[in-house]
């Protein structure tokens, strides 16, 4: 890997160079009722819109590669004949400025399913290939458990990655394009001292994780505890509202809806992200529901993330960003759920 450093004040220059493209990044959305800042990813118009000191964003970055609703195709209908038009809805590249490791890792996980070799999804790939990602280091929030999930640092899936060393940024460069941009702002080779500093920053970060999830043998424990009482207790609280999946950077389940225009001459097909916690997730025609109880649906979410995905890809589908737990009005958080299923309240 190539490493570079550049003084902090050059960041805006880097931004301006990139800003001939559409820019997306963390921005301040307002204050909550206690005066705490609320951040989310959105399109940026100026460098000042960028909130680089952001903590967690409410929503993840997934909508830029996997929109909540997306038109998959449209149809022209002419009696018994018809024509289908497929449009993957991506027309220009996007620069994502300031993505934390968990979100980068989330995209890497999505790649496994959506860009993997069984029926790759062009809607996703088209967008994913056209995102230039500037990663950014972070400091752990109380809800973060990425350290436990092994996603607290990103090894790939970005173009460059910035670590804040006080007066300068330490940059990991992964793509030639990123290299070209950095040469335009005249970045330098890092010195020995920079290396040292970089390692210190990371070591400090590692010490600051307050929440942990024990993942040892989790796949097996989930099987052993398939009938655990804990599931019912969490199920009782669950609102079956799907908030957890919507804010989750890796939840990708969806449903498809076909619509016919009022003039009966055109139709379209819309994919909308769904959630396994919603009542109709496993309902089939005729009305049979394979998971009618809140608890079995909730359990399935954990099964898919922490067992099924591990089985298929040798890593979990959870990046430990803590968003679902933060957003869940019923206070259902993965660390607590997993601990209780393990039998440690």
């Amino acid at each position: 890997m190539i490493f570079k450093v550049f003084p902090k004040k050059k960041l805006s220059l880097l931004y301006e160079l990139l800003a001939v493209n559409t820019m997306v990044g963390p921005t301040l959305k307002g204050k909550d009722r206690n005066g705490k800042s609320l951040y989310d990813f959105d399109v940026l118009y100026t460098f000042d819109d960028l909130a680089l000191d952001y903590t967690a964003t409410i929503h993840s970055a997934k909508r830029f590669v996997l929109p909540y609703h997306e038109k998959l195709s449209s149809f022209d209908i002419n009696k018994t004949d018809w024509k289908k038009h497929v449009d993957i809805n991506v027309y220009k590249p996007l620069v994502f400025f300031g993505m934390h490791p968990c979100d980068i890792n989330a995209l890497n996980k999505l790649d496994m399913v959506l860009a993997g070799n069984v029926y790759p999804n062009p809607y996703y790939i088209g967008k994913r290939k056209n995102i230039f990602i500037v990663g950014l280091d972070c400091s752990p929030e109380p809800q973060c458990f990425c350290h436990s999930m092994g996603t607290d640092s990103a090894l790939h899936g970005f173009d460059m990655f910035l670590t804040d060393l006080g007066d300068k940024y330490f940059v990991e460069v992964l793509s030639a394009t990123a290299f070209d941009f950095l040469s335009q702002i005249k970045s330098k080779e890092p010195s020995k001292k920079d290396h040292q500093h970089y390692k210190q920053v990371n070591a400090l970060k590692n010490k600051n994780f307050a929440t942990n999830v024990e993942t040892n043998d989790l796949t097996k424990i989930l099987d052993l505890e398939f009938d655990a009482k804990a599931w019912d207790q969490w199920g009782d609280k669950c609102l079956s509202c799907g908030t957890c999946s919507n804010v989750c950077p890796t939840c990708y389940c969806y449903g498809v809806e076909e619509n016919i225009d009022l003039d009966l001459k055109n139709a379209n097909k819309i994919r909308s992200l769904h959630s396994c916690n919603l009542l109709d997730f496993a309902k089939v025609s005729g009305g049979h529901n394979f998971r009618p109880e809140k608890s079995t649906r909730l359990k399935y979410r954990y099964y898919h993330k922490h067992r099924g995905f591990v089985e298929a890809f040798e890593e979990s589908l959870c990046v430990g960003c803590g968003r679902c737990g933060q957003a869940c009005l019923a206070d259902i958080t993965p660390p607590e759920v997993i601990a209780s299923v393990r039998g440690k309240e």
Partner: protein
């Protein structure tokens, strides 16, 4: 402007991630046509569907037990097991029950209507692996739809198998599917048993549960454990009963095959709706051996 990032057009550019010409690529499909429709019962119809392009038609091959996704614009897209013999390639038959939006509208369309077809998807019944062995082909209700493909395949290659028993049960005679073919299946070298739960006045055949026929068959058998394979298609409670009986009679669970059904929107392992526990029905299934089913959480 040098800093403008290059747009990577995955659909048309050199970076051809997506093979547009492959109709099974995500969201693409074969153009196909409904060439014939036969009413089988009040609720089930048999559709003959032919891929329009003759070249693609011959290229389309499948194995018994696999399924296709069928699409009508604005109406829906849904998975169906192929019901015809694999030798017929891209000129397939689907036996479909009117159950919801897509299937009910389908039952109203005329011959000649264009449909979108993609597939074949999923796992299949390993009919080659069964060569030289006795076969039990058991279907309940609509289960005959997925079973008909291996059944026809076995009939066409009859000499490769040992004894073949077909057992098929329905609630009542009106619900029996493919009645016009029953005589064809009832050959000197095939034991065909058809039973209904409830007979009507005309019914001459057997009455009772399929498990009763199976009981008789098991009693005749000498070495279930070593010389027999079973394919069991039907609703979960039916195949569970049947498979448990066979297990008790000594047939190893991994020599019984069933086809599972879950909600599906893509057939390509993306929508995540068909997962059982955490296994995809569309890619890892729909055909599973019974041993795997027993080891899948919440499979039945």
């Amino acid at each position: 402007m040098k800093n403008k990032l290059d747009f990577i057009d995955i659909m048309h550019g050199s970076d051809g991630h997506h093979r547009k010409e492959d109709p099974n690529s995500f969201e693409y499909s074969y153009q196909a046509e409904i060439t014939n429709v036969y009413s089988l019962t009040k609720t089930e119809k048999l559709y003959q569907i032919q891929i329009a392009d003759p070249k693609l038609r011959t290229k389309f091959t499948f194995k018994p037990g696999q399924f296709v996704m069928l699409e009508l614009p604005g109406i829906g897209e849904a998975p169906f097991s192929i019901s015809s013999s694999p030798v017929r390639h891209g000129d397939i038959e689907l036996c479909i029950r009117g159950a919801g939006n897509f299937t009910n509208f389908l039952s109203r369309v005329q011959r000649g209507t264009k449909v979108g077809l993609s597939g074949p998807f999923g796992t299949h019944f390993p009919v080659e692996k069964m060569h030289g062995q006795d076969l039990l082909l058991i279907a309940g209700g609509l289960g005959i739809a997925p079973l008909r493909s291996p059944l026809l395949s076995v009939l066409e290659n009859r000499s490769r198998y040992g004894r073949v028993d077909i057992m098929y049960g329905a609630k009542n005679p009106d619900e029996l599917l493919f009645t016009y073919q029953h005589e064809e299946w009832r050959r000197f070298d095939i034991n065909l048993d058809i039973t209904v739960d409830q007979a009507d006045k005309q019914w001459q055949g057997r009455t009772g549960l399929i498990t009763e026929i199976l009981k008789e068959r098991i009693q005749e058998s000498t070495d279930l454990a070593n010389n027999t394979f079973a394919i069991v298609c039907g609703p979960p409670i039916m195949f569970r009963f049947v498979c448990d009986m066979l297990t008790q009679a000594g047939l190893p669970m991994q020599k019984m095959f069933v086809s599972l059904e879950r909600r599906m929107h893509c057939g390509r392992g993306k929508c995540c709706r068909c997962n059982i526990g955490s296994t995809y029905t569309c890619i890892d299934g729909p055909v599973f051996d019974y041993w795997s089913v027993m080891n899948l959480k919440e499979a039945i």
